[in-house]
Amino acid sequence: MVVAVFRLNGIGVRFNGAILLDDISFELGGGEFLTVVGPNGAGKTTLLRILYWLVKPTEGSIELEGKDLAVIDRRQLARTVSYVPQTDLGGSDFTVRAFVEMARYPYLGPWEPLGTGDHEAVEQAMATTEVVHLGDRLFGTLSGGERQRTLIAAAVAQGGRVLLLDEPTSYLDYRHQVQVLNLLEHLHRDLGYTLVVVTHDLNATVGYSDSVLALKNGRIAFAGTPMGLLDGDRLAAIYENDFELVERTGGGVPLVVPSRGTGS
């Protein structure tokens, strides 16, 4: 039997009386690409944080590769799963290379220098994400697309085979969106990474995904294939707005365009 990467069983999160997530159950297989969509406030980011144990569920259980997530040590978790939050990488001015090297944290003692294996992991991650030429640049001088690739480079260097990404293409212009989407597809299709992407953009990663989860008010409103989600009535029910679905010239999933005027 193949052990699922993640298995969620009746997960609920209540905080100060508000229900952030309610009765979430699903399984994620190894090498699968899952996109989580939904309106603002549906609980998408909370779900992602739960998978990383940054938010602890108040109900239900989560297993990572068959082990209860609650008892997995943080460093151990970091060796399996990498989390790419939405951030502007404020902080201080480290170079891109220094930042990627920091991703080896879960393997190093407090004063242990990076070993050969660590350096190899860093080089390989930077090559995969095409940030080698940015190595000596400081965070503050990077463009949005370069920052996102640097964040992903560090997540890859961290060594896990599961990447959790929060809105990886938001705030990027079209060219950089395409770059990041191609990178994610490469990681998934060619290198076999398991990806969970949270996005509000129905035209971003849905088309690349094996499966899609739509949340609404903290509950699962849809779980299935991309084509199953991209249905006018279904989207209207989830987003409370009508949509036009436009066929793309190259085939694949249709382009989703929100209709104006019919909404309230």
């Binding site: 404020g90 902080g91 201080s92 480290f94 930042f99």
Partner: protein, 328 residues
């Protein structure tokens, strides 16, 4: 970077070696070789100057350690253990024993440092308790609680000072200026263990600090236990600063300035930054104290006057020249 570190270390060794010989009287080198002699110059050197220089070095190192750790942890250039009310807690302790004449009871010179230490720990405890009520141990809450405590303690200090007699009032004000005039060998017994423990606690988490400085969520994503790390650094550095302040008084700016300068010199990696900051902060305080006790000799200036005099303009310069150190 390596050459800068070597230069800094050599300079620091020179200053520390020269500092005890300089003062109201320049002492002959011969005093150095006879530590137990009754010669006045040997007594001054071994019982006054050398302990004082050591206290200044350990104190400056401890404050710089605390500043470097807090600035990294809070991602805030102004954060020092000072901001969290440690110094004002210590001052309240001193004001309390001074106002009620408790310092007159025969306990040697220990009453004031002990009262300061207790006050500092009280402040730390309150701020800690408030922050613990929040599940995320948020740094903003810590900072605001610290500021609130500082205001509250300040009002109590003013009250005690206002109702004290002239002598008591002066002693409180004098203590608030900070100074190393009381520094003796015994003071090191309090400071060295505290600074050593703090250095180990913080140094153990140097990598965590690098990541926290980038972004707390990223740090958590790399496997850092953010809440536990923050708690350990908060308690470790508070202990250090409480010990230093109780001996030296609230010496402004050393803890804030030294790490900033060192960050410019050697970069933001805490495994380098923490030890370099400690050496720099220690040496800086030794130099300031040497100036304070020689510039108007035989009158001695409180060292806090010198450090704050240098620190204020320095910080303005830092704000204008190096906006990139902290980016928000």
């Amino acid at each position: 970077m390596r050459s800068r570190i070597i230069l800094l270390m050599s300079l620091s060794v020179l200053i520390i070696l020269a500092a005890p010989m300089v003062g109201m009287h320049i002492l002959p080198w011969t005093a150095l070789v006879e530590p137990f002699s009754r010669e006045p110059s040997a007594v001054i050197l071994w019982y006054i100057r050398i302990p004082r220089v050591l206290v200044a070095f350990v104190g400056g190192a401890g404050l710089a350690l605390g500043g470097a750790a807090f600035q990294g942890m809070f991602r805030n250039p102004l954060a020092t253990p000072y901001t969290l009310g440690v110094a004002s807690g210590a001052a309240l302790g001193v004001a309390f024993v001074t106002r009620f004449g408790i310092m007159m009871i025969p306990a040697g010179g220990w009453i004031v440092p002990i009262a300061a230490f207790a006050g500092a720990l009280l402040a730390v405890g309150v701020v800690w308790g408030v922050a613990r009520l929040r599940p995320d141990f948020s740094t903003t809450v810590l900072l605001l609680a610290g500021v609130a405590m500082t205001f509250f303690f300040s009002s109590l200090i003013l009250f005690l000072q206002y109702t004290a007699d002239l002598g008591g009032s002066f002693r409180i004000v004098r203590w608030l200026m900070g100074g190393l005039g009381e520094a003796r060998w015994e003071a090191l017994a309090l400071m060295v263990p505290a600074v050593a423990v703090g250095a180990v606690v913080v140094g153990w988490r140097a990598r965590d600090l690098d990541l926290l400085m980038v972004d707390p969520e990223i740090a958590a994503g790399r496997g850092v236990d953010v809440v536990r790390t923050r708690a350990a650094i908060f308690l470790g550095t508070s202990l250090v600063v409480a010990a230093v302040v109780s001996v030296c008084g609230p010496i402004g700016f050393v803890g804030m300035m030294a790490p900033h300068i060192c960050r410019l010199l050697v970069g933001g990696h805490h495994r380098v930054l923490l030890p370099v900051s400690m050496v720099f902060g220690g040496t800086f305080l030794v130099a300031c104290d040497t100036v304070a006790r020689t510039i108007l000799a035989p009158v001695e200036l409180p060292v806090g006057v010198i450090t704050a005099f240098l620190g204020g303009p320095f910080f303005l310069w830092l704000l204008v020249r190096h906006r990139s150190i902290f980016r928000h």
